[in-house]
Amino acid sequence: MSRYILGRIASTGLVLLGVSVLTFFIAHVVPADPVLVALGEHAREDQIAAYRKAYGLDRPVPEQFIVYLGRVVRGDLGTSIRTRRPVGEDLREFMPATIELGGAAWLVALLLGIPAGILSAVYKDRIFDHLSRLGALIGASLPVFWLGLVLLGLFYYRLGWFPGPGRLDVALSPPPLRTGLLLFDAALARDGAVLRNALGHLVLPALTLGLFSTAVIARMTRSAMLEVLYQDYIRTARAKGLQERRVIVLHALKNAMIPTLTIVGISFGSLLSGAVLTETVFAWPGLGRYATASAISLDFPAVMGVTLVVALLYTLVNLGVDLVYARLDPRVRYE
């Protein structure tokens, strides 16, 4: 098992190398000049040349890449062209907001998607199933940006049930910065008002971001459950006189979870891409906003930094999912 994990971690290194090669060269074939974006239309040629030199952009692209890679290995992601700060520092600042939002959205997706899928399968072709499938279809088709605006318009603007955009009301001051995760920091500071308010601010963006994954997870859980529910061992379990709840939760669900887990792992990627739009609508100061702003400004170091971090997170999450397989299914062995 530990050899397997070590192997996977080593292959993660290769994945990251591949991702960085691709991103770096794609970024450099874009027919536009990041220096002009940074300095604006009024910049003179000598200022442009000085800037190019300062950021090493005057060297050949392969050389730039090797220099970049050398720095990354030493833990230096370079300096952002746009914010003019170390990319690592920027990521540390924006990452927690996205982790908080993504985590909450993931929770929404799991808590709504899995039970909805199970119930749909158990009550196949009954009214709940129809409603749940319709809901899943709608959830999977709604554009995140639109959904965010509608939820905000309805629950914040019309009904006033939830607070507006941002992570915290204007009247409240954030707690002392420790983890950057507002909920944790508020809890550590024992600041109940901030904690409640931050939770309220989290609901609408988490629903917006989580709905697509909820739909996908619900559909996958349903089909996996249906496949399992008609297997012989389920019939045997029922024939033994086991309670239906035990049959479903202990026997069926455990096996149906394997394909569902795969989707849960993959949905992490869609959460990260959805975060870009959700963060824009809800003025959420996270990685998605940072990535968009960096991409628009052709801020290569920042785009590379975000890509590497996201790729790392994605591979780690999927490694975690693979390890959970082994727990769920004794047939899965990692040597």
Binding site: P31, A32, D33, P34, L36, V37, E41, H42, R44, E45, Q47, R82, T83, R84, D90, E93, F94, V108, L112, P115, A116, L119, V122, L149, L152, G153, Y156, Y157, L159, G160, W161, F162, P163, G164, P165, G166, R167, V170, A171, S173, P174, R196, N197, L199, G200, V203, L207, E244, R245, I248, V249, T280, V281, F282, A283, P285, R289, Y290, A293, L298
Partner: protein
């Protein structure tokens, strides 16, 4: 199984039941919440900030020696300097300022002439984005600003720089005075406090920076040591809300007092609401088409004049921009000293055709028009503007092919003098006519005239003379001559000067947008 159903219902209820109760109907009485896209905020140090939102904060936390107040960018007003005079010292200009007495920094230390010299030298030494205004526009070097005594500052400018232009530069945050002791107390390496001043303030302005959370909000509180009239509101929250629809929700629901980035449609919608009012704000940008003066047949003055007579300017302002712009046809925008209100051109097909005949192209010609992607100032898409121009020019026989390209790429082509016709915008770097006159007139300045291969020695000489002229009346005459000349000779079609718009809660008063793209919050009340 039955246990699952209540669990799901509980989750659903938890997710939809209010967790914090209804949102507040209004912001606190002593606080102004200003929502805007502040993603460009990268430093609040006046020697570094050169982005709209950074400048907005720095203009409120620091003071300059002189200022343009409100919407008027033509009359210099005293600020930290009580008075000033320009003297011709033979080989240089001397600009001498007498400082206001009794002014203190927010730190409690007194304002001195040495602080001014320190601040100006600091800008030059740090050499960040706005430094070119001191180094290139004013020709300043470290040591050129001297404290004569505690209240007298003397700046020595080279004869090649414009003293009036320098005074205009000083109204901008680059001329802000920083508390030297505070900056140096936080020096790291040789940065003269730059890292610390990125998110702290040490000025004499009406507000102090309380905190700045990147991509989230900047909070200002009233400066207890402020020398001027007490600000009407004690707390200003500049909240980052990138999406304009969200800004609209916030100002409508009372969670924001001012929304800064609304589309014209949203503003129109809001103007019908009872608790919100919409206010326009001036901008100094000009949207124009540059014509490459070496590209035949655009090299003929008559052809360029024919193009100017082909365009339906009123239609652009009225229909495409729905009034979100002013018709301006000269190279200095309305609001700046030296503005020339002449706007002779309006669509006149017969006249344009006659000019084309005179130029030897009676049947018209084909030309490529480069336009950026995305929205143009005033809320219209660049591509829609281009389509309008295409149809207007088609009426006189000029066949325009539109090439839409990302602005950064467009600038590459434009800067390499490879555009035929290029539609783009220009805003001056500092509130002085020279911020437009030299770029549009002087080929050697390697700016707009150069990009359009327009070499006009007369225009360049006029721009230089006007820039250096210390006498206001004479200067105005020179700019009149220059703008009149370029109106007909130049390779430009000035299309319009855009305006911007704000939605304000109806109780908000005293909000004035300075066309250099900032507001002074000290006058705002509610």
């Amino acid at each position: 199984m039955r246990a699952l159903v209540p669990a799901i219902v509980t989750v659903l209820v938890l997710l939809t039941v209010p967790t914090v109760g209804p949102t507040l109907a209004a912001t606190a009485a002593d606080t102004l919440v200003y929502v805007a896209d502040i993603s460009d905020m990268i430093s609040l140090d006046p020697a570094v900030a050169y982005e709209f939102s950074g400048i907005l904060v720095a203009q409120n936390t620091y003071d300059t020696l002189v200022a343009f107040e409100g919407e008027d960018l033509t009359t210099l007003k005293p600020r930290l300097a009580q008075s000033w005079k320009i003297t011709d010292a033979g080989s240089s200009w001397k600009v001498t300022f007498t400082l206001r007495s009794g002014v203190k920094f927010s730190t409690g230390r007194p304002l001195t002439a040495k602080a001014v010299a320190f601040s100006f030298d600091r800008v030059i030494a740090l050499n960040k984005s706005p430094a070119f205004l001191f180094k290139d526009v004013a020709g300043l070097k470290e040591g050129d600003t001297r404290a004569i005594d505690d209240r007298t500052v003397e700046v020595t400018l080279p004869k090649t720089a414009s003293p009036q232009g320098f005074l205009s530069v000083l109204t901008f945050t680059v001329g802000a005075v920083v508390d030297p002791d505070e900056a140096m107390a936080h020096q790291s390496g040789t940065d003269r406090g730059e890292a610390w001043l990125r998110n702290h303030s040490a000025g004499t302005g009406p507000y102090v920076l309380e905190r700045w959370d990147t991509e989230s909000r900047a909070v200002l509180t009233a400066n207890p040591n402020y020398w001027g009239p007490k600000p009407r509101l004690t707390r200003i929250v500049i909240q980052h809300v990138p999406e304009s629809s969200t800004q609209k929700f916030m100002v409508e629901s009372g969670d924001a007092d001012i929304a800064a980035n609304l589309t014209p449609e949203q503003a129109r919608e809001l103007s019908a609401k009872p608790n919100v009012k919409v206010q326009k704000g001036g901008l100094l940008q000009l949207v124009y088409v540059g014509m490459n003066a070496k590209h035949p047949p655009l090299d003929k003055v008559q052809v360029r004049e024919a193009i100017r007579w082909s365009i339906d300017y009123d239609g652009i302002v009225r229909s495409l921009l729905r009034g979100e712009a002013r018709k301006v046809q000269t190279i200095i925008p309305e609001g700046l000293f030296g503005f020339n209100s002449a706007a002779p051109f309006q669509q006149n097909v017969a006249r344009a055709k006659a000019l084309l005949r005179e130029a030897g192209v009676p049947n018209g010609f084909s030309v490529e028009l480069l336009v950026p992607t995305g929205p143009a100032p005033g809320g219209v898409k660049w591509s829609d503007l281009a389509a309008k121009l295409q149809s207007d020019l088609a009426r006189v026989g000029i066949k325009v092919s539109i090439k839409e390209t990302a602005q950064a790429q467009l600038l590459n082509i434009y800067r390499a003098q490879k555009g035929q016709m290029v539609m783009i915008l220009w805003g001056p770097d500092f509130p002085d006519p020279d911020g437009n006159a030299t770029p549009f007139s002087d080929y050697a300045a390697k700016s707009i005239a150069w990009r359009n291969q327009y070499e006009d020695a007369t225009a360049a000489a006029l721009a230089k003379r006007a820039a250096l002229e210390p006498d206001a009346a004479k200067r105005r005459t020179l700019y009149r001559q220059l703008t009149d000349r370029l109106l007909h000779q130049g390779p430009y079609v000035i299309l319009y000067q855009p305006t911007t718009r704000f939605a304000l809660r109806s109780g908000v008063q005293g909000f004035v947008w300075n066309p250099m793209a900032f507001a002074e919050f000290r006058t705002v009340g509610k």
